[in-house]
């Protein structure tokens, strides 16, 4: 009898545990009609939480101050340690959700967080009519539903160059396409300048070199073909770009310490004129801003987009550019979260831009004075630029990691392409993409 009771007790405990451990994100919002509260309506006693990364946790400061003054709501920013996306996915998988979070607004990353199950749709957001038309739908959408609010100009992959180095070697205008850039690099190398600087140790920027070479292919539907399995990373287009990158490294056009150089080294090298060019995204410029003031940056640093056919940029919105609102199940807090976004992109937008000293996304709101020229150039490249792998592919494989392995000398371009394709297939399959 005693044994029988204890067996039942153990079985009951296990069942209870099993039930408690099932996926907490199972039920999501089904309906996509959204009401938008008045941005400055009173919210006394409401406390919201925003998850932010180490490089975005100061972004909302000014907005939060203004929002509190206008509505009485308090907003707490919680910093999630890097790697940020992994941390958030893990937390959300276990049922922990904030009201809002910084999140890369691309389709692949919205899929990765299961937007349909976890996020509030931001349909008919009140700020959309005032957004610059060419930027309104550039990102933040998944299967036609808007899930992310773009707050700052999305990052563009392109070339940051040292104006003084160019001038000292008689280069008056930036190269007009990829081949011209390589030709210029060879000239500079002949004169003893390090043409390109890459950060092999911190790894993540290695992929920009491959992606800018794919800009024209992306325009003609490369990622749609890869998304449906009609083309692969191992086919000539992507593999060719990887091979070219490898060939340029082998030719000695990069810094000699490419394997051990870090993100920080890269910034210092370009600013000091130890290297002429760096293929990077906006966060690189953010780093330069931390190292030098606007006047110095305007004097020293320039930007041009690049692709095989011309000066076409590749855009890649990142986590610091956008926010998502979570479906927490608490309708009052959900509405307050939407209200904060409406305030951010409405009455609070001018102050936000002035505080961040960054480019405006809205036609009626002017850029604050003192935005560095390079940032304006990056923003100007945006309307003509094409989507990156992150923006257009259904899954986001670790291309950068595989390329870093190649730079370290352990893999060939063919192995990089294969490893990337294998992982892409695995992720696409998990995401339920048709054809995988």
């Amino acid at each position: 009898m005693k044994r029988w009771t204890s067996t039942v007790a153990v079985a009951a405990a296990l069942t209870l545990g099993l039930a408690a451990c099932s996926d907490p994100t199972a039920d999501g919002p089904a309906d996509t009609t959204v009401s938008w509260p008045d941005p400055t309506g009173r919210l006394d006693g409401v406390a919201l939480t925003i998850w932010a990364a180490q490089n975005s946790n100061t972004v909302p400061q000014k907005v939060i101050e203004g929002f509190r003054a206008a509505t009485g709501a308090t907003v707490e920013v919680v910093t999630i340690p890097d790697p940020y996306e992994q941390g958030i996915q893990t937390k959300v998988a276990t049922g922990d959700k904030p009201d809002l979070a910084f999140w890369q607004p691309t389709a692949s990353m919205l899929t990765a967080i299961n937007a349909k199950g976890n996020l509030q749709p931001l349909t008919d957001a009140p700020w959309l009519p005032s957004m610059a038309p060419q930027l309104r739908d550039i990102t933040g959408l998944l299967d036609g539903t808007r899930y992310a609010a773009l707050v700052t100009s999305p990052a563009v992959e392109g070339v940051y160059y040292n104006r003084e180095v160019f001038a000292a070697h008689g280069v008056t205008a930036p190269p007009r396409n990829f081949d011209e850039m390589v030709a210029l690099a060879r000239q500079l190398k002949a004169k003893g300048v390090t043409p390109f600087y890459e950060m092999g140790a911190d790894r993540w920027a290695t992929q920009w070199w491959v992606q800018v070479q794919l800009a024209d292919a992306a325009k003609s539907g490369l990622w749609e073909r890869i998304n449906t399995g009609q083309e692969k990373f191992t086919d000539p287009t992507v593999l060719g770009a990887i091979r070219k990158y490898r060939a340029l490294i082998d030719e000695g056009l990069f810094n000699a310490d490419i394997r051990t150089a870090t993100f920080d080294d890269q910034g210092t090298a370009l600013l000091d004129g130890k290297a002429a060019m760096v293929v990077q995204v906006n966060s690189f410029f953010g780093q330069l801003q931390a190292k030098a003031d606007t006047a110095t940056l305007d004097k020293k640093i320039g930007f041009f987009p690049i692709s095989p056919s011309g000066n076409v940029g590749t855009f890649i919105p990142d986590q610091s550019n956008a926010l998502v609102a979570f479906a927490t199940g608490d309708t009052k807090r959900e509405a307050a979260a939407r209200q904060l976004l409406a305030y951010w992109m409405g009455p609070g937008y001018q102050d936000f831009l002035a505080d961040r000293n960054t480019v405006s996304l809205q036609t009626a709101v002017p850029d604050p004075a003192g935005v560095p020229q390079a940032l304006r150039d990056v923003h100007a490249a945006l309307p003509a630029s094409v989507g990156s792998m992150q923006a257009q592919a259904v899954a986001n494989p670790d291309l950068f990691l595989n390329l870093a392995d190649m730079i370290a000398g352990t893999t060939t371009p063919e192995q990089v392409a294969k490893a990337t394709q294998d992982q892409f297939t695995q992720l696409a399959k998990a995401a339920g993409a048709p054809g995988f």
Partner: protein, 281 residues
């Protein structure tokens, strides 16, 4: 009897259930991408086996564990023998060697990462002594970095091994030692023929904990190299962490199941073997 309930409840929730789920979720398509969880049979195992990354991570994990087991025990044993006598200096030294054990593993990792950078203190010291520039990337070598990281891991935990070996040395009965002396055994002979065999239980414990601790290692490797350069230090837990972070929860669970089985498969024979040595006692 009932006083055991809280302990068992905690064990159930934080150990038994997760382990059971490890077995359940490994056979599903659980991911961060969608809400449903469907059974998929052995798909995850087949995918993993065919990709090759799993085997490379497993190989690196076993190499790392073996290196740590050797280094940690050699250092720990040497320290125990050196600091065996109860002088005041030795007591202070023991405390100092025990401090790293108490330190956060991540802190240790970041500390060494900073020391071993190409422009870090270690290279600066070498340059100053050798009077010529020295900028070796200690954590950038595709072959030797795993040894460096294993040394760091062993440095952190050698104090614990030392403590256990010291305890072992202290429990050797004085009459056995006296008998050896009367029989005219040299100190060297006494050490190898009498004291070392009597340390067998300490060896069992130290080797097993070092091996298992490093197979489940993550923090020190993550803080020093993050699995690099070129994934030559990507032990299984780093691989699992990376996979989980991509939202591939089922695949990550499958890997941790593989790790669980590997640890079990290695632990039982090793412990059995070491136990056998103790039977002479």
């Amino acid at each position: 009897m009932w006083f055991l309930v809280p302990a068992f409840a905690i064990l159930l929730v934080f150990f038994v259930l997760p382990t059971l789920f490890n077995f359940v979720y490994a056979f599903t398509d659980w991911s961060g991408f969608k809400s449903e969880i469907n059974p998929v049979g052995f798909d995850n195992f087949v995918d993993l086996a065919s990709s090759g990354t799993l085997f490379s991570a497993l190989r690196i994990t076993v190499v790392y564990a073996a290196l740590v087991a050797v280094f940690q025990n050699v250092f720990g044993f040497a320290l125990a023998v050196l600091l065996e006598r109860d002088t005041r200096l030795n007591r202070v030294a023991r405390v100092f060697f025990l401090i790293p054990v108490l330190m956060s593993a991540l802190a240790v990792g970041y500390l060494f990462q900073a020391l071993l950078k190409p422009d870090g203190s270690v290279n600066q010291l070498i340059s100053a002594v050798a009077r010529q520039p020295f900028d070796h990337g200690w954590l950038a070598d595709n072959t030797w970095t795993i040894v460096v990281v294993a040394l760091i891991h062993s440095w952190k935990w050698m104090g614990l091994s030392m403590l256990i070996y010291l305890a072992g040395l202290k429990t050797i009965p004085e009459d056995v030692m006296e008998a050896a002396r009367i029989d005219g055994a040299s100190r060297w002979r006494t050490f190898w023929a009498v004291r070392s065999p009597l340390l067998a239980p300490a060896v069992t414990f130290n080797v097993a904990t070092a091996l298992l601790g490093s197979m489940n290692g993550f923090d020190i490797v993550q803080a020093t190299t993050g699995g690099g350069p070129a994934r030559t230090t990507e032990i299984l837990n780093i691989f699992i962490y990376r996979t989980f972070g991509q939202g591939l929860f089922a695949q990550a669970t499958t890997m941790s199941l593989v790790l669980f089985l590997l640890v079990a498969l290695m632990a039982f024979p090793v412990i059995h073997l070491l136990r056998k040595r103790e039977e002479i006692l």
